[in-house]
Symmetry: C2
Subunit: 156 residues, 2 copies
DNA sequence: GTTGAAATGATCCCGGC
DNA sequence: GCCGGGATCATTTCAAC
């Protein structure tokens, strides 16, 4: 029985991930102390986690409302043709659409969910009309306002 | 004409946010140099952004698949009663459900979207049956597998 | 993989503007 | 507000295990 190519994550690595998911700017030596290893060891483990892609990056969580984007919505999108080309073309354009926070490519009845942030409802309408319904690959959209958005880190 | 209580974000603050959204571990002095201010000034501006809630936090972006959660899904949930009590009760429980990455409380036909990560399809079925359909407030659910998940930072 | 120790580099407070 | 300088603290390298 060959060894797992993606070996079990060591408990100490999980502890590091838990801390960094909670506070991405926690100093390396504080993490080292919290998990019980030397700072130099901790540094090399964090580097390895980044290189292996376990940690994909570190990001500030910015409140969109503070930037004048006070309204968030989720837009379900159905495309006309489910060809690889149409999907790839749409996928390629999505990140450049203004106000898109996230895009989910789904396997269900809808093809995409777009999570967007806009200044006001006029901008929301304009977004849908200009970038979605006017798009040749888009067959149908359905927009829902987002009242609240909770993020959690299940492994922390 | 009174001054805006949430005054326009200074261009230098926007530049700082753009950098920290892209790399949450960028050193303060590197940010200071990039935006053209002194490190001490930069530090105080970042602190002010945190205290004002513009920056809500810093987090490592961890790949769920690396933790054994190789399947992601979006589950649309409708509740029976749209009373404040039912919604608040459900909202309170959602963050403690295993594998929940995010919950969106919507204004549309569905009440919630749950973004979850699980090890396999068995765990997905168990999640829906144990935590959603068995819940007294839940009227209906609809699960879609997530093929891809793109995150963007529109202001960067 | 882990470590301690030493050099480099960053944070952060404060006095002055 | 913004800055400079200096004390404190963190990161990073490296030789040794």
């Amino acid at each position: 029985m060959p060894k797992n190519p993606q070996p079990e994550l060591a408990p100490v690595d999980r502890a590091i991930l838990r801390l960094l998911a909670a506070d991405g700017r926690m100093p390396n030596n504080a993490i080292a102390e919290a998990v019980g290893i030397a700072p130099s060891t901790c540094l090399s483990r964090i580097r390895a986690l980044r290189e292996r892609g376990v940690i994909r990056g570190f990001h500030a969580d910015v409140d969109p409302a503070a930037l004048g984007l006070g309204i968030q919505a989720m837009i379900a999108v159905r495309l006309h043709a489910h060809t690889r080309g149409a999907i790839e073309a749409f996928t390629a354009e999505v990140p450049s659409l203004p106000g898109v926070l996230a895009a989910y490519h789904l396997a269900g009845g809808d093809d995409y969910l777009l999570h967007i942030a806009v200044p006001d409802t006029d901008a929301l309408r304009d977004f849908v009309l200009e970038h979605l319904t006017a798009h040749p690959a888009v067959a149908h959209t359905e927009t829902s306002l987002i009242f609240a958005h909770l993020r959690t880190t299940p492994w922390s």
